[in-house]
Amino acid sequence: MAEFKKADSMLEWFDQRLGVVNFAKVMMTEYWIPKNINFLWAMGVLLTVLFTFLVVSGIFLLMYYKPDVNMAFDSVNYTIMQEVAYGWLFRHIHAVGASVVFLVIYIHMFTGIYYGSYKKGREMIWVSGMLLFMLFSAEGFSGYMLPWGQMSYWAAYVITEIFGGIPVIGDELVVWIRGNFYVSDSTLTRFFMLHVLLIPLAIIGAIVFHFYALRFPHVNNEKGEFFDFDEEAEKYLAGNKKESKVVPFWPVFLSKDFFVLGFFMLFFFYLVFFHYNFAMDPVNFDKADGLKTPAHIYPEWYFLWSYEVLRGFFFEIAGVSGKDLGLMAFGFANAIFLVLPWLDRSPMVKPANQRPYFKYWFWFLMADLIVLTVYGKLPPTGANAWVGFASSMTFLTLFIALPFITKAEAKKVGGK
């Protein structure tokens, strides 16, 4: 055993045993972030806070929720919403938080795309972030089933049905996922397990990995500028704070994040208390009924764009059925963002608007995703179906064209 001298303070006592002083330096006061950033760089901290809100409100909900098809609906809408003191508050925070977390994820993600924060050493940040997006999607989908309302049931039915399109194993796979031939009690209990245990564990792991992936390549900045972090850190520590290009995570970076967080929370709580229907669909306040199909079935808003890619193909092309084409396009749409760092062949790390070709690609993509999202909710009839087809094709084309567009850009700027 090492020899410990008697500690003079509590801090020293802990430092001897846990190395807290060094740990705080590495994690906080000497973890360097570029100074040249705007409020979009606060989205990571916003997401961490929202995730914490979801975990805490989820723990409270877990105390009263009953994962059983006969009890789930009333345990949520009566016990939690009306009987338990402030149960409604936890449910509103959980439901609205789950929706808003996706809004911030999308802002975070498209900030990354806009500023090119996924290449030249930052590939693993991007990949781990997309992994988190997928895990959050699974978490959102499994959680939406739990209140066992009409939309819970029918969204679960439609989404699990998608796996039936996979060749050879499709039909068996659907039964394996549902634990039954139809969406039933076994489906509810297994998605309950996924929602409260397995996926949250995976998310926590992936968050740690995502943070770790940031340490070596460092956070990007507003101009995409590369500089020597150690050199800039030395300047800062020597007292040239104004001259240095970096700031410490604590307190400088976080002070800005807390400010953004404060105003964001104002918006968030407005939604929680006064404007929550977008996250708690009225249809889901009807108890699940497998014999009564709702007039319109749609997923939560954050899945609408990929849902629209799925149903955008509604007719046979070259002997392949619309359903199969849609499924292939859906698979493509969900996987393609993951490999974005390798689709962008241009070496430029700059905000999109300073890149001669990429800027068009970026804003086209944004417009197309908005069209897909809006038409993903509308009934797919008449002209709507064709808008869906055209915007799905546009989505596929944009990603297939990206390597060529960025290659041409690389040629034009000549490796700058």
Partner: protein, 292 residues
């Protein structure tokens, strides 16, 4: 300045998306319908300008109505228990104590004259269907006699005139013969197997209808179910505006009982958050003044 520009772009993109998936999609999936008509102007069989005589109305009611209907407040108790009444008529006949209070005058007069037309249920009680509405049409009465009956009902004092007791009473009289309200511990007075046979399907429990349908939908729907759900076997009940608003208020008090608490707490939480945001801003200014 630049940060405001970025914020404006994000607000615009989010705003367009929100408009598309919420107000616009809602408008496409649920087109606006004709506004609620509390005068029931399509019903014209009885001349509303006739002044009724309540004493004569009392005689007519006792001769024609109380064989099936109770009027508790006028000393006419229920003739038989609910289960027997439901077995005899298909559905428990309503107690008429509140009839003059909750139903529109024109509707009530026309209902007595011809119930099926007043309820907009001609599609259900066609001659071919072999079904007959349990209450006969009193179209053989003179308009004066019908108005006498209406004026008698209007003179009966209701159990409660306002407040939650009145809301509850109106719900139970107007809706409670068919619709349960589990979250209020209330079961429909007509036994479920009878009402299922009578209506063709079990009428839904209304505990969460204030949430699943919303006030706006209910306002049109209760006034005339056929407008929003064409072909439904739910009758137009003829509630006047006050009674309909009481029903909706009751549904809200049961289905969304924490509304007042939510809205009150919401203000405080937002105020607290605003204080936090302002302090955070001041702190940020102080910290960043050292590095800029």
């Amino acid at each position: 300045m630049k940060e405001f520009k970025i914020l404006a772009v994000i607000v615009a993109l989010v705003g367009i998306t929100y408009y598309g998936i919420e107000p616009y999609a809602h408008h496409v999936m649920h087109p606006e319908v004709a506004p609620a008509d509390f005068t029931f102007k399509d019903l014209k069989n009885v001349d509303m300008s006739i002044k009724g005589n309540p004493e004569n109305g009392k005689v007519l009611v006792e001769a024609n109505c109380v064989a099936c209907h109770s009027i508790e407040s006028a000393g006419h108790p229920q003739v038989m228990p609910n289960a027997d009444a439901a077995a005899s008529y298909g559905v428990v006949p309503p107690d008429l104590s509140s009839a003059g209070w909750i139903y529109d005058k024109n509707y009530l007069a026309n209902f007595i004259f011809d119930p099926v037309t007043a309820m907009h249920l001609q599609h259900k009680y066609t001659p071919e269907s072999g079904k007959a509405f349990p209450m006969p049409a009193y179209n053989w009465m003179t308009p004066q006699e019908i108005m006498d009956i209406v004026s008698y009902f209007q003179g009966l004092a209701p159990k409660a005139k306002s407040g939650i007791a009145s809301h509850k009473n109106t719900y139970e009289v107007a809706c409670g013969r068919c619709h349960s309200m589990a979250y209020a511990g209330f079961e429909a007075t007509t036994p479920s197997e009878n009402i299922k046979a009578y209506m063709g399907a079990t009428p839904p429990d209304l505990s969460q209808y204030i949430k699943s349908r919303g006030e706006h939908y209910l306002y049109s729907f209760i006034n005339d179910p056929q407008v929003l759900l064409h072909g439904t076997s739910m009758p137009r009940t003829g509630l006047n505006q006050k009674a309909q608003e009481e029903v909706i208020a009751y549904m809200e008090s049961i289905g969304d009982s924490k509304k007042a608490e939510r809205e009150n707490l919401g203000i405080w939480v937002m105020f607290y958050t605003l204080v936090f945001a302002i302090l955070a801003y001041l702190w940020k200014r102080k910290i960043w003044s050292e590095v800029h």
